[in-house]
Amino acid sequence: MIVGDLSRRELGKRLAGDGLALQLGPFNLTIRSNLDSFASLAHQLYEPYPLPDAEAISDFHVQISAPRGLRRWVRRQACFGVDGQFPFAPYTVEHAFPALEWGINWCVATRAHHLLLLHSAGVERNGRAILFPASPGHGKSTLCTALVHSGWRLLSDEFGVVRPEDGLLLPLPRLIPLKNESIEVIRKFRPEAIIGPSFLETRKGTVAHVQPPVNSIRRAQEPARPRWFVFPRWVADAPLTLEPIPKSQAFLMVATNAFNYEVLDEIAFRLVTEMVRSCDSYSLIYSDLDEAVSALDELSRTDDV
């Protein structure tokens, strides 16, 4: 069963009541909200996401709700909560949806320590995955969006989720948040992409969420083997370069870009070592999305030879 099987009314009822259970890759969430605007958008953008079985245990209980008191009615606010705690300052009610999305990121990054969490986008094709570890602002979400709308499966745009037992990547195909100019770039690149409304003047500028292709969501329980690390950087007007980088450099860039490397200590050291040893690593500088997608397509074909 998926969210789209619920009517808008039923969805709103669940959000306002015991919560809407949602399966996001390896995590089950229960989401609660008393905001009508949030419910409408959730019904639209979460439409293809599966609902877990009734007896499934939730990893996180999150909510995005109007606070009690004056702020429920005047200069309305929305507060993100997890397991009854409210760790962040309130948002304006207009930013409720991105606030929940960021809050879920925070939950995963701070709690899912049974997994190694790389700060990385990831895509997969033909059983082999590319990971894009990158600092914010380097264009990995935009590149990731372009790739998943060009035949690649989305693993995640934010988390490279590594299962310690076997080093496989677990998909977490959530909505992809695009910022500022990237929104229009993707609208032009793929007019058919499903993009939610733009939220203006958030803490990260203008943000809009791209719904991944349905296939990525349907295959969310299918892990992938990492095969390449590509460290992307968008540079205006730069000619495309895709160059191998030394593995020692790749190790350090992956390790320093991991959310919980120090938490997992020896496990993280071993996992990153194994991944870097088994993957080829590249630096990618690009200014044109089509060129970048073509270059990565060709890279993936080198394995087919």
């Binding site: 895709l242 191998p244 030394p246 320093t256 870009n257 080829d280 270059a295 080198t302």
Partner: protein, 165 residues
């Protein structure tokens, strides 16, 4: 497009070259000790300053001449660094972080310069921060210039004067 995708370097010579493009300190023989921290590689590595010095102003008879070096005299091959470009890693300011951002823009080799406007004697030629053609103007009339040995500078990713193109 395929020519843009360079093959993984497999020969040992190529690997040597590739490795030497990495982390600062790989080329250098000065021992490097860094510790990984979330979000960055912690610069838990210092190297000692050989000396601090001043350079004569442009109004002096020998503009750019390195003077008042302490505690040691610089020699050709050492590296001058502009004031405040290096981050100290001890309270006495005699050691600096090897992760300090050292580039060819904020450093110059110590070089022997013969000033054509002066007679040849004990004070001509003289040491400057620049080249045998003369001092770098950015290094003229400065106080508290840091002098690094060529080995220390190499460990921070700056080529010595003799290696510069």
């Amino acid at each position: 497009m395929s020519e843009m995708i360079k093959e993984q370097e497999t020969s040992s010579e190529h690997e040597d070259v590739a490795r030497r493009r990495l982390i600062r300190g790989v080329v250098a023989l000065a021992p490097l000790v860094l510790t990984l921290r979330s979000g960055a590689l912690a610069a838990a590595s210092c190297t000692g300053l050989k000396a601090t010095a001043n350079t004569r102003p442009s109004s002096a008879a020998r503009p750019g001449r390195i003077v008042n070096a302490t505690p040691a005299d610089p020699v050709v091959g050492d590296v001058c660094v502009l004031p405040n470009e290096l981050t100290a890693c001890d309270t006495s300011q005699t050691k600096v972080l090897t992760s300090s951002n050292l580039t060819t823009a904020n450093s110059e080799p110590v070089s022997l310069y013969t000033n054509p406007n002066l007679p040849l004697n004990n004070n001509n030629p003289y040491l400057v921060c620049g080249s045998s053609s003369g001092p770098n103007p950015a290094f003229i009339g400065k106080n508290n210039i840091a002098i690094l040995s060529s080995q220390s500078a190499s460990s921070m990713g700056v080529a010595s004067g003799s290696n510069r193109g």
